[in-house]
Assembly symmetry: D2
Homo-oligomer: 156 residues x 4
Amino acid sequence: MASGTLNKVMLIGHTGDEVKMHYFEGGGCIGRFPLATNEEYVNRTTGERVSNTEWHNIVVRNKAAEVCEKYLNKGDKVYIEGRIKTRKWTDDKGMDRYSTEIQCLDFTFLTPKEQSQGGGAQPQGQMSGVSTPAQQQPAVAKPSQAPDDNDDDLPF
Amino acid sequence: MASGTLNKVMLIGHTGDEVKMHYFEGGGCIGRFPLATNEEYVNRTTGERVSNTEWHNIVVRNKAAEVCEKYLNKGDKVYIEGRIKTRKWTDDKGMDRYSTEIQCLDFTFLTPKEQSQGGGAQPQGQMSGVSTPAQQQPAVAKPSQAPDDNDDDLPF
Amino acid sequence: MASGTLNKVMLIGHTGDEVKMHYFEGGGCIGRFPLATNEEYVNRTTGERVSNTEWHNIVVRNKAAEVCEKYLNKGDKVYIEGRIKTRKWTDDKGMDRYSTEIQCLDFTFLTPKEQSQGGGAQPQGQMSGVSTPAQQQPAVAKPSQAPDDNDDDLPF
Amino acid sequence: MASGTLNKVMLIGHTGDEVKMHYFEGGGCIGRFPLATNEEYVNRTTGERVSNTEWHNIVVRNKAAEVCEKYLNKGDKVYIEGRIKTRKWTDDKGMDRYSTEIQCLDFTFLTPKEQSQGGGAQPQGQMSGVSTPAQQQPAVAKPSQAPDDNDDDLPF
DNA sequence: TTTT
DNA sequence: TTTT
């Protein structure tokens, strides 16, 4: 009866602000930031060029949130994969209100770090060495999904 | 400067109601219907099974809307591809309100038509023949994206 | 320098055979099965209906492989998410050969279990109870990605 | 009976060569180019960093092919959406051979044009004006899917 | 090789 | 064959 469903979002856009962190008592945390996607098209009747910006509320958790806070700067281009979640809340008049956000489950930075307009948080001009932040910058999140060793030498 | 962005949603879920149509003066139309996706997981601390339903507002246009209205029945499983769009409106108190919907650009019916719980609109037990609705049921929308003839015999 | 890339495949199709398992000495395993996707279109010049089947070689690992072997039957419809991998091998004439497969990282069964044409492996008519295989049948793989408890009550 | 299937590929990678065009007698054309995606992970047993490159054969048609040829330069980053197609051919020994390619149905350039290492074909330092190639550079292909006018003012 |  |  309850065979599967899918709730997947894939975005490429530019961040509109820094990642805002919230820390929980239990040790967890979430980060939030806005992401802009753009569409451009020509109005068929008037012939004029129209440009639309869509803003998405991105929510990312725990370790991934910390990576985003550390390396994502305002204006950076990023690929976000996640799911849609609409949360219901009550405003100060007691009215039901809804807010839709994208729960980020995977991401990839698309702005080369030397171009990222990082402030203090951004690693820039750091010393060399295996473990410098520059080399630690994750191109792809969710490393736990990385293949294991016997990836390439399967005899089948 | 304005290199590309992406705004893509892919859903597999069950429709929660019939498709509601709206017709415009110019000849266009849109259809709307709710789509449910489910997630189930075990709460790590309490160990209890949690089941969550997410409702998505699907909007589909013109020809595709008419196909959905004709063949999609309440409860059917369907694959929806589209983009996220949040529309702003003003409520009767003059407050800004936001409503997020999925603009459907492609879809695929996943419920075999003999299982679809169609009412009058659903083709069921109809006579045979090349052009019966049952055989017309489109498995995939957006036929304009179908490959053209020289698809398979490329000498390269 | 090494900013991110993406290699993602999403398929909905029917399995063409049972899952074939291979077990490794270290305790790991992989399962393999063919998956068919279809496209239909009308040849614009001749007007005839063309139907094409594409076969994909699905490879799934470890725990997920065992779940597929247990619950996926020939002919079942399934959603597969993964990445493309082309493996190079040498045939008995010493020629380089290439074989492309889909490494499955997530999946969702789309055939309701009561319709699955399972043989001995398929749970059918089993006794009731919280832990019967029927209820254990996973609608969605990769449970580790499930949200944790504080999912819905974020005060932000 | 023939309810739907899905065959979708989404890639972000770097082009490994220029777009090679082939023109047909009927007026159509296709372009081909290799696209590299990378995965990096740490081998759990040895602890060493492993870097893998996957090469994809991209095939794009007609108008979209011409746009790619004109604006895509070797090394550019691009988002590609399409479907998997494995073509069968016979080698000079009469053996069956298979070649898998990605039929591109949509794309988005991710390298800002001022950074693209274009040769003669790349518009660089051109004069201003509404119709200069720089402004014509399409960030997103498949403009036919663009929304029409009554996109934002739906009274529903 | 094969699914619907 | 090749990209970063």
